[in-house]
Protein backbone atom coordinates (compact mmCIF):
# COMPACT_ATOMS: atom_id res chain seq x y z
CA UNK A 1 0.00 0.00 0.00
CA UNK A 2 2.80 2.37 0.95
CA UNK A 3 4.54 1.71 -2.34
CA UNK A 4 1.33 2.38 -4.22
CA UNK A 5 0.68 5.76 -2.63
CA UNK A 6 4.31 6.89 -2.90
CA UNK A 7 4.33 5.68 -6.51
CA UNK A 8 1.21 7.68 -7.33
CA UNK A 9 2.66 10.78 -5.72
CA UNK A 10 6.04 10.47 -7.45
CA UNK A 11 4.47 9.84 -10.84
CA UNK A 12 2.26 12.91 -10.52
CA UNK A 13 5.14 15.11 -9.41
CA UNK A 14 7.58 13.92 -12.08
CA UNK A 15 5.07 14.26 -14.88
CA UNK A 16 4.01 17.74 -13.79
CA UNK A 17 7.63 18.98 -13.46
CA UNK A 18 7.73 20.53 -16.97
CA UNK A 19 4.78 22.75 -16.20
CA UNK A 20 5.98 23.61 -12.70
CA UNK A 21 9.31 24.63 -14.22
CA UNK A 22 7.97 26.70 -17.09
CA UNK A 23 4.88 28.18 -15.45
CA UNK A 24 5.97 28.53 -11.85
CA UNK A 25 3.63 29.12 -8.97
CA UNK A 26 1.71 31.76 -10.93
CA UNK A 27 -0.01 28.82 -12.66
CA UNK A 28 -2.43 28.62 -9.76
CA UNK A 29 -3.93 32.08 -10.20
CA UNK A 30 -3.38 32.63 -13.93
CA UNK A 31 -6.81 33.61 -15.23
CA UNK A 32 -6.42 32.50 -18.83
CA UNK A 33 -6.39 28.91 -20.05
CA UNK A 34 -5.56 28.96 -23.74
CA UNK A 35 -3.63 25.91 -24.96
CA UNK A 36 -3.48 27.28 -28.51
CA UNK A 37 -1.54 30.35 -27.35
CA UNK A 38 0.34 28.23 -24.81
CA UNK A 39 -1.05 30.18 -21.86
CA UNK A 40 -2.07 28.12 -18.85
CA UNK A 41 -3.76 29.34 -15.70
CA UNK A 42 -5.62 27.15 -13.24
CA UNK A 43 -7.79 29.88 -11.76
CA UNK A 44 -10.99 29.10 -13.76
CA UNK A 45 -10.86 25.46 -12.68
CA UNK A 46 -10.06 26.19 -9.05
CA UNK A 47 -13.02 28.57 -8.92
CA UNK A 48 -15.24 26.10 -10.78
CA UNK A 49 -14.33 23.26 -8.45
CA UNK A 50 -14.82 25.33 -5.31
CA UNK A 51 -18.09 26.80 -6.55
CA UNK A 52 -19.70 23.48 -7.57
CA UNK A 53 -18.55 21.72 -4.42
CA UNK A 54 -19.69 24.41 -2.04
CA UNK A 55 -23.07 24.98 -3.65
CA UNK A 56 -23.58 21.22 -3.59
CA UNK A 57 -22.52 21.12 0.04
CA UNK A 58 -24.90 23.90 1.04
CA UNK A 59 -27.80 22.20 -0.72
CA UNK A 60 -26.97 18.81 0.76
CA UNK A 61 -26.37 19.79 4.40
CA UNK A 62 -30.04 20.29 5.45
CA UNK A 63 -30.93 16.94 3.91
CA UNK A 64 -28.06 14.96 5.36
CA UNK A 65 -28.60 16.48 8.81
CA UNK A 66 -32.32 15.75 8.59
CA UNK A 67 -31.66 12.13 7.66
CA UNK A 68 -29.12 11.78 10.47
CA UNK A 69 -31.52 13.22 13.04
CA UNK A 70 -34.53 11.27 11.80
CA UNK A 71 -32.80 7.90 11.61
CA UNK A 72 -30.54 8.52 14.58
CA UNK A 73 -33.04 9.99 17.02
CA UNK A 74 -36.69 9.92 15.97
CA UNK A 75 -36.89 6.57 14.29
CA UNK A 76 -33.78 4.43 14.88
CA UNK A 77 -35.45 1.00 14.53
CA UNK A 78 -38.14 -0.74 12.55
CA UNK A 79 -38.84 -1.54 8.94
CA UNK A 80 -39.46 2.05 7.84
CA UNK A 81 -36.14 3.18 9.22
CA UNK A 82 -34.35 0.23 7.59
CA UNK A 83 -36.03 0.89 4.27
CA UNK A 84 -35.09 4.56 4.32
CA UNK A 85 -31.51 3.80 5.33
CA UNK A 86 -31.06 1.27 2.54
CA UNK A 87 -32.60 3.65 0.02
CA UNK A 88 -30.16 6.38 1.06
CA UNK A 89 -27.30 3.95 0.64
CA UNK A 90 -28.53 3.04 -2.84
CA UNK A 91 -28.20 6.71 -3.81
CA UNK A 92 -24.46 6.28 -3.38
CA UNK A 93 -24.47 3.03 -5.34
CA UNK A 94 -25.83 4.45 -8.60
CA UNK A 95 -22.86 5.08 -10.93
CA UNK A 96 -22.10 8.75 -11.50
CA UNK A 97 -22.28 8.32 -15.27
CA UNK A 98 -25.98 7.47 -14.90
CA UNK A 99 -26.63 10.61 -12.87
CA UNK A 100 -24.83 12.58 -15.57
CA UNK A 101 -26.82 10.99 -18.39
CA UNK A 102 -30.14 11.49 -16.60
CA UNK A 103 -29.22 15.05 -15.70
CA UNK A 104 -28.34 15.84 -19.30
CA UNK A 105 -31.72 14.73 -20.63
CA UNK A 106 -34.14 15.43 -17.78
CA UNK A 107 -32.68 17.98 -15.40
CA UNK A 108 -31.17 20.30 -18.01
CA UNK A 109 -34.50 21.21 -19.70
CA UNK A 110 -36.07 21.79 -16.28
CA UNK A 111 -33.23 24.08 -15.23
CA UNK A 112 -33.41 25.85 -18.58
CA UNK A 113 -37.04 26.83 -18.11
CA UNK A 114 -36.28 27.80 -14.52
CA UNK A 115 -33.47 30.04 -15.75
CA UNK A 116 -35.74 31.69 -18.27
CA UNK A 117 -38.14 32.50 -15.47
CA UNK A 118 -35.54 34.18 -13.28
CA UNK A 119 -34.06 36.03 -16.28
CA UNK A 120 -30.58 34.63 -16.59
CA UNK A 121 -29.09 33.24 -19.79
CA UNK A 122 -30.87 29.87 -20.22
CA UNK A 123 -27.91 27.58 -20.81
CA UNK A 124 -29.45 24.68 -18.91
CA UNK A 125 -26.07 23.11 -18.40
CA UNK A 126 -23.70 24.85 -16.03
CA UNK A 127 -22.35 25.16 -12.53
CA UNK A 128 -25.76 25.21 -10.84
CA UNK A 129 -27.02 22.08 -12.62
CA UNK A 130 -23.91 20.09 -11.76
CA UNK A 131 -24.10 21.27 -8.15
CA UNK A 132 -27.69 19.99 -7.89
CA UNK A 133 -26.70 16.52 -9.09
CA UNK A 134 -23.57 16.57 -6.94
CA UNK A 135 -25.65 17.47 -3.89
CA UNK A 136 -27.78 14.35 -4.34
CA UNK A 137 -24.71 12.20 -4.91
CA UNK A 138 -22.86 13.29 -1.76
CA UNK A 139 -25.75 13.18 0.74
CA UNK A 140 -25.28 9.49 1.66
CA UNK A 141 -21.67 10.01 2.77
CA UNK A 142 -22.48 12.63 5.39
CA UNK A 143 -25.80 11.00 6.33
CA UNK A 144 -24.61 7.47 7.06
CA UNK A 145 -21.88 8.81 9.32
CA UNK A 146 -24.30 11.20 11.02
CA UNK A 147 -26.75 8.39 11.81
CA UNK A 148 -24.07 6.36 13.57
CA UNK A 149 -22.84 9.36 15.52
CA UNK A 150 -26.26 10.52 16.71
CA UNK A 151 -27.04 6.99 17.88
CA UNK A 152 -23.86 7.12 19.96
CA UNK A 153 -25.05 10.04 22.10
CA UNK A 154 -25.24 8.62 25.65
CA UNK A 155 -28.85 8.32 26.76
CA UNK A 156 -28.24 9.66 30.33
CA UNK A 157 -27.46 13.03 28.72
CA UNK A 158 -30.75 13.03 26.81
CA UNK A 159 -32.73 11.68 29.77
CA UNK A 160 -31.29 14.41 31.96
CA UNK A 161 -32.50 17.07 29.59
CA UNK A 162 -35.96 15.49 29.29
CA UNK A 163 -36.17 15.30 33.08
CA UNK A 164 -35.57 19.05 33.23
CA UNK A 165 -38.65 19.48 31.04
CA UNK A 166 -37.00 20.05 27.68
CA UNK A 167 -39.03 19.32 24.56
CA UNK A 168 -37.70 17.01 21.89
CA UNK A 169 -36.58 19.92 19.73
CA UNK A 170 -34.71 21.44 22.65
CA UNK A 171 -32.98 18.14 23.42
CA UNK A 172 -31.86 17.86 19.81
CA UNK A 173 -30.70 21.48 19.65
CA UNK A 174 -28.93 21.76 22.96
CA UNK A 175 -27.81 18.21 23.75
CA UNK A 176 -27.47 16.11 20.61
CA UNK A 177 -26.19 18.81 18.27
CA UNK A 178 -23.39 20.13 20.50
CA UNK A 179 -22.35 16.59 21.39
CA UNK A 180 -22.04 15.46 17.77
CA UNK A 181 -20.96 18.74 16.19
CA UNK A 182 -17.37 17.77 15.39
CA UNK A 183 -18.45 14.38 14.06
CA UNK A 184 -21.12 15.83 11.81
CA UNK A 185 -18.56 18.31 10.55
CA UNK A 186 -16.26 15.41 9.69
CA UNK A 187 -19.11 13.87 7.70
CA UNK A 188 -19.49 17.10 5.76
CA UNK A 189 -15.74 17.09 5.07
CA UNK A 190 -15.96 13.55 3.67
CA UNK A 191 -18.82 14.67 1.41
CA UNK A 192 -16.71 17.61 0.28
CA UNK A 193 -13.84 15.27 -0.58
CA UNK A 194 -16.25 13.26 -2.73
CA UNK A 195 -17.62 16.37 -4.43
CA UNK A 196 -14.20 17.77 -5.28
CA UNK A 197 -13.04 14.66 -7.07
CA UNK A 198 -16.30 13.75 -8.79
CA UNK A 199 -15.69 13.67 -12.52
CA UNK A 200 -18.22 12.13 -14.85
CA UNK A 201 -21.53 13.64 -13.80
CA UNK A 202 -19.93 17.07 -13.57
CA UNK A 203 -18.14 16.76 -16.90
CA UNK A 204 -21.41 15.97 -18.63
CA UNK A 205 -23.36 18.80 -17.02
CA UNK A 206 -21.05 21.72 -16.43
CA UNK A 207 -20.68 22.92 -20.01
CA UNK A 208 -16.88 22.84 -20.16
CA UNK A 209 -15.77 26.37 -20.84
CA UNK A 210 -12.50 27.67 -19.49
CA UNK A 211 -13.44 31.35 -19.56
CA UNK A 212 -13.91 33.16 -16.26
CA UNK A 213 -17.44 34.50 -15.82
CA UNK A 214 -17.83 38.26 -15.34
CA UNK A 215 -20.76 38.42 -12.94
CA UNK A 216 -21.75 36.30 -9.99
CA UNK A 217 -24.99 35.34 -11.74
CA UNK A 218 -23.05 34.07 -14.73
CA UNK A 219 -20.62 32.24 -12.51
CA UNK A 220 -23.42 30.31 -10.82
CA UNK A 221 -25.83 29.67 -13.69
CA UNK A 222 -23.46 29.80 -16.65
CA UNK A 223 -21.21 27.01 -17.86
CA UNK A 224 -17.85 26.47 -16.22
CA UNK A 225 -15.22 23.81 -15.71
CA UNK A 226 -13.75 21.96 -12.74
CA UNK A 227 -10.29 20.52 -12.32
CA UNK A 228 -11.56 16.98 -12.78
CA UNK A 229 -13.70 17.81 -15.80
CA UNK A 230 -10.93 19.66 -17.65
CA UNK A 231 -8.62 16.69 -17.13
CA UNK A 232 -11.29 14.31 -18.41
CA UNK A 233 -11.95 16.44 -21.48
CA UNK A 234 -8.51 17.55 -22.55
CA UNK A 235 -6.09 14.87 -21.37
CA UNK A 236 -6.22 12.76 -24.51
CA UNK A 237 -6.07 15.87 -26.71
CA UNK A 238 -3.07 17.46 -25.02
CA UNK A 239 -0.50 17.52 -27.80
CA UNK A 240 2.58 19.06 -26.26
CA UNK A 241 4.53 18.56 -23.09
CA UNK A 242 3.62 21.69 -21.17
CA UNK A 243 -0.10 21.32 -21.97
CA UNK A 244 -0.13 17.73 -20.78
CA UNK A 245 1.89 18.43 -17.68
CA UNK A 246 -0.25 21.45 -16.79
CA UNK A 247 -3.21 19.06 -16.74
CA UNK A 248 -1.27 16.66 -14.56
CA UNK A 249 -0.37 19.50 -12.22
CA UNK A 250 -4.12 20.09 -11.85
CA UNK A 251 -4.41 16.40 -10.97
CA UNK A 252 -1.65 16.84 -8.39
CA UNK A 253 -3.45 19.80 -6.81
CA UNK A 254 -6.69 17.81 -6.77
CA UNK A 255 -4.88 14.85 -5.20
CA UNK A 256 -3.43 16.96 -2.39
CA UNK A 257 -6.65 18.81 -1.64
CA UNK A 258 -8.84 15.69 -1.47
CA UNK A 259 -6.26 13.72 0.51
CA UNK A 260 -5.88 16.49 3.10
CA UNK A 261 -9.65 16.94 3.45
CA UNK A 262 -10.19 13.20 3.80
CA UNK A 263 -7.44 12.78 6.36
CA UNK A 264 -8.75 15.64 8.50
CA UNK A 265 -12.23 14.11 8.34
CA UNK A 266 -10.96 10.65 9.28
CA UNK A 267 -8.88 12.10 12.12
CA UNK A 268 -11.90 13.86 13.61
CA UNK A 269 -13.96 10.67 13.41
CA UNK A 270 -11.30 8.54 15.09
CA UNK A 271 -10.95 11.12 17.86
CA UNK A 272 -14.73 11.28 18.26
CA UNK A 273 -15.30 7.52 18.43
CA UNK A 274 -12.41 6.98 20.85
CA UNK A 275 -13.39 9.61 23.36
Amino acid sequence: MLVLIVGILITLIIESLPSIKSLGIGFLWGKIWDPVQNIYGAYPFLIGTLLTSFIALIISIPFSYAISIYLGEYNPKGWLSNLLKNTIELIAAVPSIIYGFWGLFVLVPVIRSFETKIHVAPYGIGVFTSSLILAVMIIPYAASLGITLIRMVPSPLKEGAYALGATRFEVIRSVIMPYTRSGLFAGVLLSLGRALGETMAVTMLIGNTSAVANTIKDAIFGPGNTMASVIANEFTEADHTVYLSALIELGLVLFFVTVIINLIGKRIITKFTNS
Partner: protein, 281 residues
Protein backbone atom coordinates in the same frame (compact mmCIF):
# COMPACT_ATOMS: atom_id res chain seq x y z
CA UNK B 1 -46.84 30.02 31.53
CA UNK B 2 -49.19 27.69 29.66
CA UNK B 3 -48.81 29.67 26.47
CA UNK B 4 -45.03 29.37 26.71
CA UNK B 5 -45.22 25.58 26.92
CA UNK B 6 -47.64 25.57 24.05
CA UNK B 7 -45.17 27.47 21.87
CA UNK B 8 -42.33 25.16 22.80
CA UNK B 9 -44.38 22.08 22.03
CA UNK B 10 -45.52 23.49 18.71
CA UNK B 11 -41.95 24.30 17.83
CA UNK B 12 -40.95 20.74 18.64
CA UNK B 13 -43.72 19.29 16.49
CA UNK B 14 -42.96 21.64 13.60
CA UNK B 15 -39.30 20.70 13.79
CA UNK B 16 -40.15 17.02 13.67
CA UNK B 17 -42.35 17.62 10.68
CA UNK B 18 -39.56 19.44 8.88
CA UNK B 19 -37.04 16.69 9.63
CA UNK B 20 -39.37 13.93 8.44
CA UNK B 21 -40.19 15.90 5.29
CA UNK B 22 -36.53 16.54 4.40
CA UNK B 23 -35.50 12.98 5.21
CA UNK B 24 -38.09 11.48 2.89
CA UNK B 25 -37.95 14.06 0.12
CA UNK B 26 -34.38 13.09 -0.67
CA UNK B 27 -35.44 9.63 -1.81
CA UNK B 28 -37.42 11.28 -4.60
CA UNK B 29 -34.45 11.99 -6.91
CA UNK B 30 -33.37 8.36 -6.62
CA UNK B 31 -36.85 7.09 -7.41
CA UNK B 32 -37.23 9.49 -10.32
CA UNK B 33 -33.86 8.51 -11.79
CA UNK B 34 -34.61 4.81 -11.38
CA UNK B 35 -38.06 5.02 -12.95
CA UNK B 36 -36.81 7.15 -15.83
CA UNK B 37 -33.91 4.82 -16.64
CA UNK B 38 -36.19 1.79 -16.42
CA UNK B 39 -38.81 3.43 -18.64
CA UNK B 40 -36.28 4.47 -21.27
CA UNK B 41 -34.09 1.40 -21.03
CA UNK B 42 -36.35 -1.59 -20.72
CA UNK B 43 -37.79 -1.25 -24.21
CA UNK B 44 -34.30 -1.30 -25.69
CA UNK B 45 -33.21 -4.55 -24.17
CA UNK B 46 -33.72 -7.72 -26.15
CA UNK B 47 -31.63 -10.60 -27.38
CA UNK B 48 -30.41 -8.68 -30.42
CA UNK B 49 -29.34 -5.79 -28.18
CA UNK B 50 -27.25 -8.07 -26.00
CA UNK B 51 -25.51 -9.95 -28.79
CA UNK B 52 -24.64 -7.32 -31.40
CA UNK B 53 -22.07 -4.56 -31.60
CA UNK B 54 -23.32 -0.96 -31.93
CA UNK B 55 -24.60 -0.06 -35.38
CA UNK B 56 -23.08 2.88 -37.29
CA UNK B 57 -25.10 6.10 -37.44
CA UNK B 58 -28.09 5.82 -39.72
CA UNK B 59 -28.55 2.08 -39.35
CA UNK B 60 -31.17 0.81 -36.95
CA UNK B 61 -30.53 -1.96 -34.46
CA UNK B 62 -27.20 -2.70 -32.99
CA UNK B 63 -26.39 -3.67 -29.44
CA UNK B 64 -23.82 -3.48 -26.76
CA UNK B 65 -22.17 -6.90 -26.79
CA UNK B 66 -18.72 -5.32 -27.04
CA UNK B 67 -19.26 -3.29 -23.88
CA UNK B 68 -20.76 -6.22 -21.97
CA UNK B 69 -17.84 -8.46 -22.85
CA UNK B 70 -15.36 -5.65 -22.14
CA UNK B 71 -16.80 -4.81 -18.74
CA UNK B 72 -16.82 -8.49 -17.85
CA UNK B 73 -13.18 -9.03 -18.86
CA UNK B 74 -11.91 -5.85 -17.25
CA UNK B 75 -13.75 -6.36 -13.97
CA UNK B 76 -12.64 -10.00 -13.86
CA UNK B 77 -9.02 -9.01 -14.41
CA UNK B 78 -9.08 -6.30 -11.77
CA UNK B 79 -10.69 -8.72 -9.31
CA UNK B 80 -7.90 -11.21 -9.94
CA UNK B 81 -5.37 -8.51 -9.08
CA UNK B 82 -7.19 -6.75 -6.25
CA UNK B 83 -8.90 -9.54 -4.29
CA UNK B 84 -5.84 -11.58 -3.19
CA UNK B 85 -3.79 -8.46 -2.43
CA UNK B 86 -6.71 -6.85 -0.63
CA UNK B 87 -7.54 -9.88 1.50
CA UNK B 88 -3.90 -10.45 2.45
CA UNK B 89 -3.44 -6.80 3.42
CA UNK B 90 -6.69 -6.90 5.37
CA UNK B 91 -5.53 -10.02 7.27
CA UNK B 92 -2.22 -8.34 8.04
CA UNK B 93 -3.91 -5.18 9.31
CA UNK B 94 -6.30 -7.10 11.56
CA UNK B 95 -3.64 -9.48 12.89
CA UNK B 96 -1.03 -6.81 13.67
CA UNK B 97 -3.01 -3.69 14.48
CA UNK B 98 -0.31 -2.00 16.56
CA UNK B 99 2.82 -2.26 14.45
CA UNK B 100 4.23 0.80 12.74
CA UNK B 101 3.88 -0.75 9.27
CA UNK B 102 0.19 -1.43 9.93
CA UNK B 103 -0.34 2.15 11.02
CA UNK B 104 1.19 3.57 7.88
CA UNK B 105 -0.54 1.10 5.55
CA UNK B 106 -3.82 1.87 7.25
CA UNK B 107 -3.18 5.53 6.62
CA UNK B 108 -2.41 4.78 2.97
CA UNK B 109 -5.65 2.83 2.62
CA UNK B 110 -7.50 5.90 3.90
CA UNK B 111 -5.64 8.13 1.44
CA UNK B 112 -6.30 5.73 -1.43
CA UNK B 113 -10.00 5.72 -0.63
CA UNK B 114 -10.06 9.49 -1.07
CA UNK B 115 -8.04 9.71 -4.28
CA UNK B 116 -10.28 11.01 -7.09
CA UNK B 117 -10.78 8.33 -9.71
CA UNK B 118 -9.59 10.61 -12.50
CA UNK B 119 -6.19 10.92 -10.79
CA UNK B 120 -5.92 7.13 -10.72
CA UNK B 121 -6.57 7.23 -14.46
CA UNK B 122 -3.72 9.71 -15.05
CA UNK B 123 -1.26 7.71 -12.99
CA UNK B 124 -2.05 4.40 -14.67
CA UNK B 125 -1.72 6.14 -18.03
CA UNK B 126 1.91 6.88 -17.21
CA UNK B 127 2.57 3.51 -15.61
CA UNK B 128 1.17 1.27 -18.30
CA UNK B 129 -0.31 3.00 -21.32
CA UNK B 130 2.76 5.09 -22.12
CA UNK B 131 5.37 2.31 -21.81
CA UNK B 132 3.21 -0.06 -23.88
CA UNK B 133 2.46 2.66 -26.40
CA UNK B 134 -1.26 1.85 -26.69
CA UNK B 135 -4.47 2.11 -24.69
CA UNK B 136 -5.26 -1.35 -23.41
CA UNK B 137 -7.76 -3.36 -21.41
CA UNK B 138 -5.01 -4.39 -19.01
CA UNK B 139 -4.31 -0.80 -18.02
CA UNK B 140 -8.02 -0.26 -17.39
CA UNK B 141 -8.07 -3.30 -15.12
CA UNK B 142 -5.09 -2.03 -13.14
CA UNK B 143 -6.79 1.35 -12.65
CA UNK B 144 -9.99 -0.33 -11.45
CA UNK B 145 -8.00 -2.69 -9.22
CA UNK B 146 -6.49 0.34 -7.47
CA UNK B 147 -10.01 1.69 -6.92
CA UNK B 148 -11.13 -1.69 -5.60
CA UNK B 149 -8.31 -2.32 -3.13
CA UNK B 150 -9.28 -0.02 -0.24
CA UNK B 151 -12.84 -1.39 -0.06
CA UNK B 152 -11.68 -5.03 0.00
CA UNK B 153 -8.96 -4.26 2.57
CA UNK B 154 -11.24 -2.37 4.94
CA UNK B 155 -14.08 -4.90 4.82
CA UNK B 156 -11.69 -7.82 5.38
CA UNK B 157 -9.99 -6.05 8.24
CA UNK B 158 -13.22 -5.07 9.95
CA UNK B 159 -14.83 -8.50 9.61
CA UNK B 160 -11.80 -10.29 10.99
CA UNK B 161 -11.50 -7.88 13.91
CA UNK B 162 -15.03 -8.80 14.99
CA UNK B 163 -14.13 -12.50 15.33
CA UNK B 164 -13.64 -13.55 18.97
CA UNK B 165 -9.94 -14.03 19.83
CA UNK B 166 -10.79 -17.28 21.60
CA UNK B 167 -11.38 -18.83 18.19
CA UNK B 168 -7.79 -18.25 17.13
CA UNK B 169 -6.43 -19.15 20.57
CA UNK B 170 -8.28 -22.47 20.57
CA UNK B 171 -6.84 -23.40 17.19
CA UNK B 172 -3.32 -22.35 18.19
CA UNK B 173 -3.50 -24.30 21.46
CA UNK B 174 -4.29 -27.44 19.48
CA UNK B 175 -0.89 -27.03 17.86
CA UNK B 176 -2.12 -25.86 14.47
CA UNK B 177 0.55 -23.83 12.64
CA UNK B 178 -0.17 -20.12 12.27
CA UNK B 179 -0.70 -20.09 8.50
CA UNK B 180 -3.22 -22.91 8.76
CA UNK B 181 -5.06 -21.11 11.54
CA UNK B 182 -5.44 -18.12 9.23
CA UNK B 183 -6.46 -20.18 6.20
CA UNK B 184 -8.69 -22.79 7.85
CA UNK B 185 -10.17 -20.95 10.83
CA UNK B 186 -10.01 -17.17 10.53
CA UNK B 187 -10.78 -16.71 6.84
CA UNK B 188 -13.67 -19.23 6.65
CA UNK B 189 -15.28 -17.63 9.72
CA UNK B 190 -15.13 -14.18 8.21
CA UNK B 191 -15.98 -15.40 4.74
CA UNK B 192 -19.40 -13.75 4.45
CA UNK B 193 -18.02 -10.38 5.44
CA UNK B 194 -15.11 -10.63 3.02
CA UNK B 195 -17.44 -11.74 0.25
CA UNK B 196 -19.80 -8.85 0.77
CA UNK B 197 -16.85 -6.45 0.69
CA UNK B 198 -15.76 -7.94 -2.62
CA UNK B 199 -19.26 -7.64 -4.06
CA UNK B 200 -19.59 -4.04 -2.94
CA UNK B 201 -16.26 -3.19 -4.52
CA UNK B 202 -17.29 -4.83 -7.79
CA UNK B 203 -20.55 -2.89 -7.75
CA UNK B 204 -18.53 0.24 -7.25
CA UNK B 205 -15.92 -0.23 -9.98
CA UNK B 206 -18.23 -1.53 -12.67
CA UNK B 207 -19.78 1.93 -12.92
CA UNK B 208 -16.48 3.82 -12.86
CA UNK B 209 -15.83 5.78 -16.02
CA UNK B 210 -13.18 8.35 -15.19
CA UNK B 211 -10.21 6.01 -14.74
CA UNK B 212 -11.08 4.24 -18.00
CA UNK B 213 -11.02 7.35 -20.18
CA UNK B 214 -7.25 7.27 -20.54
CA UNK B 215 -6.68 3.57 -20.04
CA UNK B 216 -9.17 1.15 -21.62
CA UNK B 217 -10.31 4.01 -23.86
CA UNK B 218 -13.19 2.31 -25.66
CA UNK B 219 -13.55 0.41 -28.90
CA UNK B 220 -16.55 0.16 -31.24
CA UNK B 221 -15.76 -3.43 -32.18
CA UNK B 222 -15.97 -6.70 -30.32
CA UNK B 223 -12.52 -7.33 -28.90
CA UNK B 224 -11.19 -9.77 -26.36
CA UNK B 225 -7.52 -8.90 -26.67
CA UNK B 226 -6.29 -7.48 -23.39
CA UNK B 227 -3.49 -5.48 -24.98
CA UNK B 228 -5.91 -3.55 -27.21
CA UNK B 229 -8.39 -0.81 -26.32
CA UNK B 230 -11.64 -2.26 -25.01
CA UNK B 231 -15.17 -0.87 -24.62
CA UNK B 232 -16.88 -0.94 -21.23
CA UNK B 233 -20.48 -0.23 -20.23
CA UNK B 234 -19.94 3.13 -18.49
CA UNK B 235 -17.62 4.38 -21.21
CA UNK B 236 -20.14 3.39 -23.88
CA UNK B 237 -22.82 5.31 -22.03
CA UNK B 238 -20.54 8.34 -21.83
CA UNK B 239 -19.63 8.43 -25.53
CA UNK B 240 -23.14 7.68 -26.78
CA UNK B 241 -24.93 9.95 -24.31
CA UNK B 242 -22.86 12.94 -25.38
CA UNK B 243 -23.31 12.15 -29.10
CA UNK B 244 -25.92 14.04 -31.13
CA UNK B 245 -27.80 11.00 -32.51
CA UNK B 246 -31.09 9.65 -31.18
CA UNK B 247 -30.25 6.06 -32.08
CA UNK B 248 -27.14 6.28 -29.98
CA UNK B 249 -29.00 7.82 -27.07
CA UNK B 250 -31.35 4.86 -27.11
CA UNK B 251 -28.39 2.53 -27.07
CA UNK B 252 -27.02 4.41 -24.08
CA UNK B 253 -30.39 4.22 -22.24
CA UNK B 254 -30.40 0.47 -22.74
CA UNK B 255 -26.84 0.20 -21.50
CA UNK B 256 -27.65 2.39 -18.48
CA UNK B 257 -30.58 0.13 -17.65
CA UNK B 258 -28.39 -2.96 -17.67
CA UNK B 259 -25.61 -1.28 -15.68
CA UNK B 260 -28.07 0.09 -13.12
CA UNK B 261 -29.86 -3.22 -12.65
CA UNK B 262 -26.57 -5.01 -12.19
CA UNK B 263 -25.30 -2.53 -9.61
CA UNK B 264 -28.58 -2.42 -7.67
CA UNK B 265 -28.99 -6.20 -7.60
CA UNK B 266 -25.42 -6.62 -6.41
CA UNK B 267 -26.02 -4.07 -3.65
CA UNK B 268 -29.31 -5.58 -2.50
CA UNK B 269 -27.82 -9.08 -2.57
CA UNK B 270 -24.92 -7.87 -0.44
CA UNK B 271 -27.36 -6.30 2.02
CA UNK B 272 -29.16 -9.63 2.35
CA UNK B 273 -25.93 -11.50 3.01
CA UNK B 274 -24.76 -9.02 5.61
CA UNK B 275 -28.12 -9.11 7.33
CA UNK B 276 -28.18 -12.90 7.40
CA UNK B 277 -24.71 -13.05 8.92
CA UNK B 278 -25.25 -9.98 11.02
CA UNK B 279 -22.21 -8.10 9.83
CA UNK B 280 -21.71 -4.39 10.24
CA UNK B 281 -19.75 -2.78 7.43
Amino acid sequence: MDARIGIRNTKSILFKGLIVFLAFVITLPLIIVLLYIIKQGVTQVNWHFLTHVPAPVGETGGGISNALLGSLIIVAMSSIVAIPVGILTGIYLSENPHTRLAYYSGLCVDILQGVPSIVVGIVVYFWIVKPLGTFSAISGSIALAIMMLPIVIRSTEQTLRLLPPSLKEAALSLGVPYHRVILKVIVPCGFAGILSGIMLSIARIIGETAPLLFTAFGNPYLSSSITKPMETLPHLIYTYATSPYDDWHNLAWGASFILLMFVLLLNIFTKLITRKWNIQL
